[in-house]
Symmetry: C2
Subunit: 306 residues, 2 copies
């Protein structure tokens, strides 16, 4: 699957992913109004609103981008209808030829991680039938439980040609509390990185592994170091834009081949219509504002990686 992601990145010349993290506050009023008229101010209404909002953004940007990254928490907060909107979003993006990275940050003991792996990337058996429940292409995975929490994901990746991105160094301000702690002089994020490389060896798919990692744009020095230590690991980079990471910071997340990293922006794209530089589009044209923000982001990132 990483090979397919790289093909799409190369074809579109865009090492970027759009984070479909729809807060209701980002959804233009006319979309909320229509959804609430049909379903009332209910969880179903909220789910319809975020689905229509997503659809608009996907329709306006799918030709420019290789991938999307829906953050499942933003759907899960609306309960079962929200989860249905997540599933619908994943399916629609795949129909449009986009690769879908489910930002689910799951991870548990072995038998439980196996259920997550099956539900998000694999197929679950029901009697004599098999079903792909959420069917993302990649999922993000939390490493705190160690190898036996990650291995069930590796099994599914191998069987189904899917991929994962394991959290190494997250973009948030307090990520260092545990991740930066030094063990015999080596920070925990580096130890996790070594394990990611080890897990990744089993799952090579061309020059890169189907086991990638997450390193926040907000910690460029660590990105630089980990980039060198993990030459075959694709880096999913959150934290660009709204969280403070700049394109200059990002140059060092790429290998010399111009590959090796894919940069996410969520708010910066999907809520572009609320940003001063894009208000000219107007609330009704929020999707065009997102398209322009994608174009600007691609230019910005490509300027840095070349």
């Amino acid at each position: 699957m990483i090979r397919k992601l790289i093909e799409e990145i190369t074809k579109k010349n865009a090492p970027v992913v759009v984070g479909l993290d729809p807060m209701l506050g980002y959804v233009p009023k006319q979309i909320q109004k229509a959804a609430f008229e049909e379903f009332g101010e209910t969880l179903e209404g909220a789910a319809e609103a975020i689905w229509q909002f997503n659809k608009g953004i996907v329709d306006a940007t799918y030709d420019l981008i290789p991938a999307v990254k829906p953050q499942i928490a933003m759907y899960e907060q609306f309960g079962v209808p929200g989860m249905a909107a997540f599933q619908k979003t994943v399916a629609y993006c795949k129909e449009k030829g986009l690769i879908v990275i489910g930002d689910v940050k799951r991870g548990d003991i072995g038998s439980t991680s196996a259920a997550y792996a099956v539900g998000h990337l694999g197929k679950v058996i029901v009697g004599s039938k098999e079903y792909a429940a959420f069917d993302e292409d990649f999922a993000t995975v939390n490493p705190y439980l160690g190898s036996d929490g990650v291995k069930p994901f590796l099994e599914v990746c191998k069987e189904q040609d899917k991929g994962i991105f394991v959290l190494i160094k997250t973009s948030n301000p307090s990520s260092g509390e545990f991740q930066d702690q030094k063990v015999d002089g080596v920070p925990l994020y580096e130890l996790v990185g070594r394990k990611v490389a080890e897990w990744g060896e089993e799952c090579m798919d061309g020059d890169y592994s189907n086991v990638g990692c997450v390193i926040g744009a907000t910690y460029p020095e660590m990105g630089k170091l980990l980039r060198k230590q993990l030459p075959e690991t694709y880096i999913l980079v959150p934290g660009y834009g709204a969280q403070g990471g700049t394109a200059k910071d990002l140059a060092m997340y790429f290998n010399k081949d111009g590959l090796g990293a894919i940069v996410n922006s969520s708010r910066g794209i999907i809520a572009a219509w609320k940003k001063e530089e894009y208000t000219k589009f107007g609330e009704g044209n929020y999707a065009e504002a997102s398209r322009q923000a994608v174009i600007d982001m691609i230019e910005d990132i490509n300027g840095a990686r070349m």
Copy 2:
């Protein structure tokens, strides 16, 4: 909420929680057959089967136990219908007076953790209305992202009188890979424990905090140490029974007041009918087998904590 949990534990004299982690392989054939006849061998059929299975166990045990702990992965693997079965299970258990610990192991950057906290423990705003989407009483939380991934849960706990159990030392064999690594001589799980105590201070509810922790029954020496270090932190203890933890191991997870810990068993209770000692009940009486297993577990644990 921890005060309410303690009241229920005391009233029923049972510091135990039943893990509702329904694998289809645990569900008796007659229940699967009825569900598949109604919904086909579909995700809806699987969801109906696990819901009916859960209902049977809850009806047969709710008078004996204070709480249940549904593991969401076992529902999530069946997609949207599975999530509906999770929600139905949570609601039904609450109707029966049980406290529900959602074993969701969520955790992300601040704004995303806020969405998880709202979706599982709090209320989400839709227009002029508010909804509790999954509405568990407690949720388990992964600490890898540090304080700003946990704090949104604390906010919701304070507002809604709910609780969390933060992973400190998990029960699985490879949990030590990262959790046991020593930072200046102190294992990471102890550092996480110190943070749990700090977070917990903000959320006291009687003698204990609404911020509890998870320490596996499979690591009793660490349980003993952490019990002393975290006198006001309730410990949720997985790993008893099927994973190898014994009641003798568990004695040291309790404080001198006989409180401070609640022990989970999943497979050992819900799949009791498949265990040699309970096969006499027969597949059709799986719920009675679960009831007997609960009685035996309570006796076993109480023998150790007294």
